[in-house]
Amino acid sequence: MELRVLIAGLLIALPVVSLAAEDGTPHPSTDVFVTKCSSCHSVGEGDRVGPDLKGVTERRKPDWLATMIKAPSRLLDSDPEVRALLAKYNNVRMPDLGLDDEQVAGLIDLVAHCSEHACQLTPELRPVTEAVELDAAHGRALFLGTAMFTNGGPSCISCHTVSGTGAMIGGGTLAKDITNVFARLGDDGLDAALRNPSFPLMNKVFGDHPLSAEEAFALRAYLYDANRGKHQGAGVYQLSVPMASLIGAIAVLILLNTAWSRRLRGVRRELVRHGGRPS
């Protein structure tokens, strides 16, 4: 009993302790890094979706770094080195994050600082391997929108699809099929993408309606299962939207044709067919 209380106390105290590393105050750009960068990058904790940024301020010129942070789209296609990196990191393109010059300078300073001192730049993460069936089921409900996000964000299915959702007409086609997103982003990356999405559109949609850690965990559990193909085959009846529309339209036409079937039958032809007896 006492041991458990001790462990719990340590767990709660841990982030406070690490954030207060060194002189006790985190670097002023930590928040920016956590929301905008940490979903793909770490400083000294190894590669995630994108490369580890430790020591990058020494390897690259500040101008290049500033451009890369501020508007990566300018370099992604033109700079051969960046293209090589892109190929290395699964062709996941770094989005333009909409940062101003001040924030960019702060981030460069943070990377330089944290390359030498240990910083706490990612929130604590509950690994998806801890998830049980129930979590994945909750995640599926959140994905489909049968359960609501606490902060009122729209359900994933509005834009995304996962093969084998079990939903009649499948998910949305506005954004990527995220069946294998777990493989692309990894557990950390996925958590960050869910809670602090740096993709411009998702950022806009979820900026004011962030997901809670529990919701992100449930979704990760669901997407982890999806990635492993656990749901394959569950979507036997899954139809594309155009196909469903077509079938619906045909059904409506058949209904109308039945309802108004007497419309063009005429009078004389019926009379003659019935030999003059009232039909």
């Binding site: 109308l256 005429g266 009078v267 004389r268 032809r269 030999g275 003059g276």
Partner: protein, 496 residues
């Protein structure tokens, strides 16, 4: 009192021989065009019969005319839900087969066919598709009871009869029919005008002719449904509807309409009536059996000084009022109560009136003998070959009284004339027949004259149209001064 002038018609059915000259005259003048081939603005149908289009009187199917509902009178075919559900999909329209698919023959094959062992033949082809077709129907397919068990037996007016009466009607020895020529009735309360969503249909103020503006028509075809007589037609070539215009260009130049002018039986009469438009609402709200009387009550006496003053105050020209005084229609409809509206129960106040045919029993067959001796000259109304109930369904909105009166008055007139010419009837009987129908000897003479002897200008009293006044209402005629007259249709060619 809101006095208006209406050009009105009487068809004397006792004189119609079913020759279709009227129809052909109309067809040649107005509907011999692409898209209008199937239209017969004037048609003649055999009664009993289903007519043209087939069973047009069956409003269960076609939803024409007005009916009493919600404490008032409204179009049978409208309603918020019904209207919205059928706006693009009207189920109450006749299809082309109900009129008939118009056809012609490949006459040129008779001349141009290559030499062969057989005579060349002119094949029937559709005037719509141009393809060879099998002719299955026509606008007078049941003429003279042709196809009787199919067409005549399904006349909706026979519903008024008991099944014994119906059976008796189709015994070979008793077979009976008459002709019913029909044109647009130019109703005082036209359902077509009421139904048109585009405002294309209108009733001319000066003479009550109902016209359809070809520039306003959007082809909704609500008028086709709404007209209980099915006298508006959809032109598939122009995508607009058309109807009888009562030959107004002829009327405006003082000529009778083509169908009137050409009628060989001289059954048609035309003249204007003065009527009180204030009474329309009351007249159409009456129960069915009062409708004929209510419509007759709307018609005003053109000799009444109060009516004349009100008519003058309403802008009617003196010569229009004078024409109404000479109108043969006024005499047949109002003075003599001989002419009756067709299917008044649809509450459109049709302004074409019919003198119902007598159809007396003239002989009987018994023991193999064809016996032409009869007890009484022309028999009694109730023994006539078409039951009164049937006639009442057509001309009395179900009420036998006005039809009985019209038939008895005709009979009295005939008895009177028989007495005058051959003097072989009991004088007391003749006098009784006249007095029972409020007919004086002078009136009987007048009826006889207008029925049998009337020349052209007594049958057609066409009021002056005063188009000059109508035109002045629409614009300043001085605008066109000096712009009309003779000119060159093509520029003169000079030199070579």
């Amino acid at each position: 009192m809101d006095v208006r002038s209406q050009i009105s018609m009487v068809f004397h059915l006792d004189k119609c021989i079913g020759c279709h000259t009227c129809s052909v005259a109309c067809k040649n003048v107005w509907t011999d065009r692409r898209g209008a081939e199937y239209m017969w603005w004037n048609n003649v149908e055999t009664k009993p019969g289903t007519g043209y289009p087939t069973k047009w009187e069956d409003q269960e199917k076609y939803k024409g005319g007005f009916e009493k509902k919600n404490g008032g009178v409204d179009l049978r075919a409208v309603g918020r839900i019904r209207g919205a559900a059928t706006v693009f999909h009207n189920p109450s329209l006749p299809i082309i087969d109900d009129y008939y698919e118009p056809f012609t023959y490949t006459y040129e094959d008779l001349i141009n066919a290559p030499e062969g062992a057989d005579q060349p033949v002119a094949k029937p082809i559709s005037m719509i598709t141009g393809e060879p077709m099998k002719i299955e129907a026509g606008p007078n397919w049941d003429d003279d009871l042709g196809g009787s068990p199919i067409y005549a037996a399904n006349d909706p007016n026979l519903d008024a009869l008991s099944s014994e009466e119906r059976t008796a009607l189709f015994e070979v020895q008793r077979l009976v029919f008459f002709y019913l020529p029909r044109i647009c009735n130019h109703c005082a309360n036209p359902a077509c005008v009421a139904s048109c969503p585009s405002g294309a249909l209108y009733k001319r103020g000066e003479d009550g002719i109902v016209l359809l503006n070809q520039e306003r028509c959007r082809g909704w075809r609500f008028c086709v449904t709404a007209c209980p007589y099915k006298k508006t037609y959809f032109n598939w070539g122009t995508g607009k509807s058309e109807k009888c215009i009562l030959c107004y260009p002829r009327l405006e130049s003082g000529q009778a309409p083509a169908c009137f002018h050409s009628c060989v039986g001289r059954i048609r009469y035309l003249g204007n009536l003065l009527y009180d438009a204030d009474q329309i609402v009351d007249a159409i709200n009456r129960p069915d059996h009062e409708l004929v009387e209510a419509q007759r009550d709307m018609i005003l006496d053109p000799f009444d000084p109060a009516v004349i003053a009100a008519a003058r105050a309403n802008g009617l020209a003196p010569d229009v009022i004078e024409a109404a005084q000479r109108s043969p229609v006024y005499k047949f409809v109002k003075l003599w109560s001989l002419a009756l509206p067709l299917h008044a129960e649809h509450r459109t106040l049709p302004m074409l009136f019919y003198v119902p045919p007598l159809l007396p029993m003239m002989a009987s067959v018994g023991d193999g003998i064809y016996d032409t001796s009869i007890d009484q000259f022309l028999g009694t109304i109730d023994s006539y070959r078409l039951p009164l109930k049937y006639m009442a369904s057509l001309f009395g909105a179900g009420n036998e009284a006005p039809v009985r009166h019209a038939l008895r008055k005709q009979l009295a007139t005939r008895m009177y004339r028989r007495q005058v010419t051959t003097d072989d009837l009991e004088e007391a009987n003749v006098r009784l027949a006249l007095s029972e129908t409020d007919t004086t000897a002078e009136q009987a003479e007048a009826i006889y004259r207008l029925t049998s002897l009337a020349p052209f200008d007594e049958r057609f009293v066409i009021p002056p149209m005063h188009r000059e006044e109508a035109i002045e209402m629409l614009g300043d005629t001085a605008d066109a001064k000096g712009l009309t007259g003779l000119g060159f249709r093509e520029g003169p060619q000079r030199g070579a």
